[in-house]
Subunit: 185 residues, 2 copies
């Protein structure tokens, strides 16, 4: 599995505390991988035990101390090894899709309503991503290396949200059309 490796990627970009990482997983990296703070702390502990990261306690004013983690040489090698390893395409899971498949065994109107809510949700996320894109990467053609990668992943997020928006719109339309079919010429 890969939370370890996601953390190695994030810590390679910039050393960070558990909470910093938690915040990053609510944004950027979080587009395509999520983790709760509890899990991050636990995995960081394990990674320290394995010698992949090492931590330094930093005292702060008016705040609790924080433990700033950085990748060690064995960690860097592990990341390299993992990056070169073949990747299996992870299956997608969508509860909403399962519900839609089973809509005829319950209240279809309620499910269409859930689709509308989901649509709203994806629209919000899309505008956030588009905002980030225009703010951070106004000239994508000039990018190279790591910046290009990060920009492309963000564009992946944009495309994925568009996929959901398009499909959910189709779904809602198809069922609205069905119910009002007889009223049209």
């Amino acid at each position: 599995m890969a939370l370890e490796h996601a953390l190695l990627v994030s810590l390679s970009e910039q050393a960070a505390s558990g909470l910093d990482l938690t915040h990053r997983f609510d944004k950027s990296i979080g587009y395509f991988w999520t983790a709760s703070h509890q899990q991050i702390y636990r995995v960081l502990g394990r990674m320290e035990g394995d010698g992949w990261v090492h931590c330094e306690v930093v005292a702060q004013q008016g705040r609790p101390d924080k433990k700033v983690y950085a990748v060690t040489e064995p960690g860097r090698l592990e990341l390299e090894r993992w990056l070169a390893e073949p990747t299996v395409t992870d299956p997608i899971r969508s509860e909403l899709m399962v519900k839609i498949r089973g809509a005829s065994y319950g209240d279809r109107a309620a499910i269409i309503e859930q689709a509308r809510e989901s649509l709203e949700d994806h629209r919000k996320r899309l505008s956030l991503y588009e905002f980030l894109e225009s703010k951070d990467y106004p000239n994508p053609d000039l990018l190279e290396g790591r910046e290009l990668d990060i920009c492309l992943v963000l564009r992946g997020g944009v495309r994925l949200e568009r996929f959901w928006i398009d499909w959910l719109t189709d779904y809602i339309d198809a069922h609205t059309r069905t119910t009002t079919k007889e009223r049209r010429p």
Copy 2:
């Protein structure tokens, strides 16, 4: 969580044994939810204990007996309840996306190769879905109710594969362009 409910949906369509369900999860329902046979057997056992399904042992010729499960009234009610319940959008996880974000800490060429393999994979799945679509739903405008739902979910699969294909193509292009930039006028 929802494997229970995915099984209820599938069993509502048609009573089935554990192995039948396993096969279904390798297709149709499996577009947006996956499960191994071990997990299916375990969950079926739990569901029987909860009285959501009931099973009948069917003897077969030259094969082991099979236990055919069907949804009970309490199971039907539970499905209905779950269908009406609000749905949280499940996060997507893509190991490949994480790798791509971290590509500059390893062998980028190897990661582009993984992207190519993934692209192949998604192309194969797309042609399977398109084949199923043209075979089972040649006239989507005439569909209603459950059949419409199932067809729309399949179309969701098609769209999702197209998303991956488009994005992966972009990714590969962007990095090919970068490396060969200086050769162009």
